[in-house]
């Protein structure tokens, strides 16, 4: 994509542990256009959060980005000086975390915590202006009695309200890209619906691009326009939500979709056999082949590339490799 706001190219993030190298993110490429909402789906340990952490520069030792580029607005984040990066984070790129309970400071009022982002990034703003702006954003985020809530501490708010504060904090500087790491996983369904609705509304009003990291395919179906399915550090399938939900290609995505109980049928659930491999001992060849119901002999020693069965829909599986005859020279 030419006009992408965010271009992740062949990103490698490795953890240098005592037991060996863990390639948590292994050659991931993701594009997000301005104003687009993109879902990153996968089970625990597939590298979806690590992709976001690498992007934000929040990796902890022994983790390290050791390959690839992350272009945001044409600037390479991996090569940027920490000082310049700090100007970008929380300002043009911001993030919402999964746990609204642990990601707020318990001894500072929520208003001041949100205000901090403004005072850091918008130096020309006075404290009073910043306060008014925060109250305005609180109202936008659907927090009732915004002026009163401004002075409250996190423990005085419910989980749903805390997540709204997190969203307000992320949106206060009008970012171009919002990374939401499982923003509704810790919330109840009715609150989840409220938060998703709010995020959608803010996204449409402000034209913010959203990277939605989740394990819930329902959330992706409702919220996103495109999605990337990750497994063991690699993108297995990508394309538009419409296309993938209608015409699923990769055996893993298919298994994932069929193992979620939906509310329409009571058919026996499909099981993906086995379990997610340890990142220290990945199987040779295709990473999914030991669990795949269609695996062939070559899956066990060759790694499949990305093939494009239909325009814009990419699949990492030999089943979709174009026939030799058809291949263009």
């Amino acid at each position: 994509m030419e006009d992408a706001l965010l271009q992740i190219r062949d990103l490698h993030t490795t953890f240098y542990t005592r037991d060996g190298l863990v390639r948590a993110v292994d050659g991931v490429s993701i594009d997000i256009a301005a104003g687009e909402s993109v879902g990153i789906v996968g089970e625990s340990g597939c590298g979806k959060s690590m992709t976001a952490m690498s992007l934000m520069g929040l990796l902890k030792k022994p983790g390290k980005v050791d390959g690839g580029t992350i272009l945001f607005d044409g600037q390479d984040l991996t090569a940027m000086a920490p000082k310049d990066k700090r100007k970008l984070m929380g300002n043009r790129i911001s993030m919402i975390f999964q746990e609204p309970m642990t990601s707020l400071n318990p001894v500072i009022t929520v208003g001041r915590q949100v205000q901090e982002a403004l005072l850091l990034h918008k130096r020309e703003m006075s404290r009073t202006e910043a306060k008014n702006r925060v109250i305005q954003v609180f109202q936008l985020a659907g927090i009732p009695d915004a002026a009163k809530r401004y002075q409250e501490y996190p423990h005085q708010l419910s989980g749903g309200l805390r997540q709204r504060v997190m969203i307000a904090m992320a949106m206060v500087c009008d970012p171009g890209l919002l990374i939401a790491d499982e923003p509704t996983t810790a919330l109840d369904v009715t609150i989840e619906a409220q938060i998703l609705h709010l995020m959608k509304q803010l996204q449409e009003e402000k034209g913010t691009a959203v990277m939605m990291i989740t394990h819930n395919l329902g959330v992706v179906a409702q919220f996103c326009t495109r999605l990337y399915v990750m497994y063991a550090g690699k993108v297995m399938e990508s394309g538009t939500v419409q296309e993938i939900f209608k015409n699923v290609c990769h055996p893993y995505t298919e298994g994932l979709m069929r193992s979620v109980p939906d509310m329409e049928s009571k058919e026996r659930l499909y099981n993906i056999r086995g379990m997610v491999p340890s990142m220290l001992h990945l199987p040779k060849g295709c990473r999914f082949c030991p669990r795949c119901q269609y695996s062939m002999a070559r899956c066990f020693d060759q790694e499949p590339g990305l093939y494009e069965p239909s325009p814009g829909h990419f699949v990492r599986c030999f089943l979709f490799e174009p026939e030799k005859g058809e291949e263009k020279p």
Partner: protein
């Protein structure tokens, strides 16, 4: 399935927690965790308790196991009121009621081997006399839940989350119970592992004629596993009845909103704005007067404020709303 035989019944079961101040002196406030719940669990069925956090579903499950002492009410299991049983008497009941817990990491003792974990109930209840007998039964159980019996001498940390949950299930099955209380058994697991455990629970039910009380907040999972569901809100039952009927045509407004709030897997069906429930769950310390749902209910009228709705029957179903069935 035989729906005539009631295995367990609660009558007006209530649990209230006394709030105390920092010096341990009683305050006037009381947390109404479970208020006057009367439900029946039939033999061989799966009854699911559904609701959001704080609705009292887990408290109810624990009350049935007597892990929490009820404030008021009766628990009738196989014709006997076990609410007043002593610890010694309860030990006999625990042969017939067992529990599967939510967190497979916290519910297994990290210093015990699988042999001890699954074998412990067999020894304490003197089901198996000799060591060989115990080992044989443990291996049978491991086979039943899909763990290779060779792994009998491993510790919990050597297993993945899904396998640990299988060990938890084997432990619950060890005494051949009639009723298993499953408290969010799959919510800590990944999607692909979740489906394996759900299918295992279903197979075991068929094989061993088990009855499940299944506690969950995931409406998709509940639809898949249960015969009947019971929707709770703030310690009270809103609606109880056959799963299919409730999912097709919910009578209580809360059930309706709950079902609509679940993000659908079909991208064509994007949520409409009017289907979103506003507000948050009220506090269980000061529940609203009358109907407890009225502060969030868009259809609330004057009567909802003053009069508490009773659980009324509509065919095979019961719902607690003044306007249920009125359209």
């Amino acid at each position: 399935m035989n729906r005539s035989e009631v295995l367990l019944e609660t009558r007006n079961l209530t649990k209230e927690y006394q709030l105390r101040n920092n010096f341990g002196i009683r305050k006037k406030q009381v947390v109404h965790a479970v208020s006057g719940v009367s439900i029946e669990i039939y033999k061989g069925e799966t009854l699911s308790l559904v609701g959001e956090s704080g609705c009292g579903k887990s408290t109810l499950g624990r009350l049935l196991m007597r892990l929490i002492e009820p404030t008021e009410g009766e628990i009738i299991f196989e014709g006997q009121d076990i609410a007043g049983y002593s610890e010694k008497q309860m030990n006999q009941v625990y042969k017939k009621i067992q529990m599967i817990f939510q967190d497979p990491y916290a519910s297994l003792n990290p210093r015990m081997r699988v042999r001890q974990l699954i074998g412990e109930p067999l020894i304490t209840h003197k089901v198996c006399k000799t060591r060989d007998e115990t080992d044989k039964r443990v291996k049978d159980l491991m086979h039943m839940v899909g763990i290779r019996p060779e792994l009998i001498d491993r510790y919990p940390h050597q297993f993945s989350g899904g396998q640990r949950q299988r060990i938890g299930i084997a432990r619950a099955l060890a005494l051949n119970p009639r009723l298993i209380v499953c408290d969010e058994p799959v919510s800590a697991l990944d999607v692909s592992i979740q489906s394996q455990i759900l299918n295992l629970l279903k197979d075991l039910q068929q094989e061993l004629c088990l009855t499940y009380l299944f506690i969950s907040h995931d409406l998709g999972v509940v639809h898949y596993i249960s015969d009947r569901i019971c929707v709770m809100f703030l310690g009270k039952v809103c609606e109880i009845g056959e799963t299919e009927e409730i999912y097709k045509n919910p009578l209580h407004p809360y059930t309706k909103f709950l079902l609509q709030a679940v993000p659908s897997m079909n991208p064509e069906k994007r949520q409409q704005r009017e289907h979103i429930l506003t507000g948050e769950i009220p506090s269980a310390v000061n529940p609203p007067s009358g109907c407890r749902f009225r502060t969030r209910c868009p259809y609330a009228k004057e009567i909802c404020k003053t009069k508490e709705p009773e659980l009324k029957s509509f065919g095979t179903r019961k719902a607690a709303c003044h306007f249920a069935g009125a359209g």
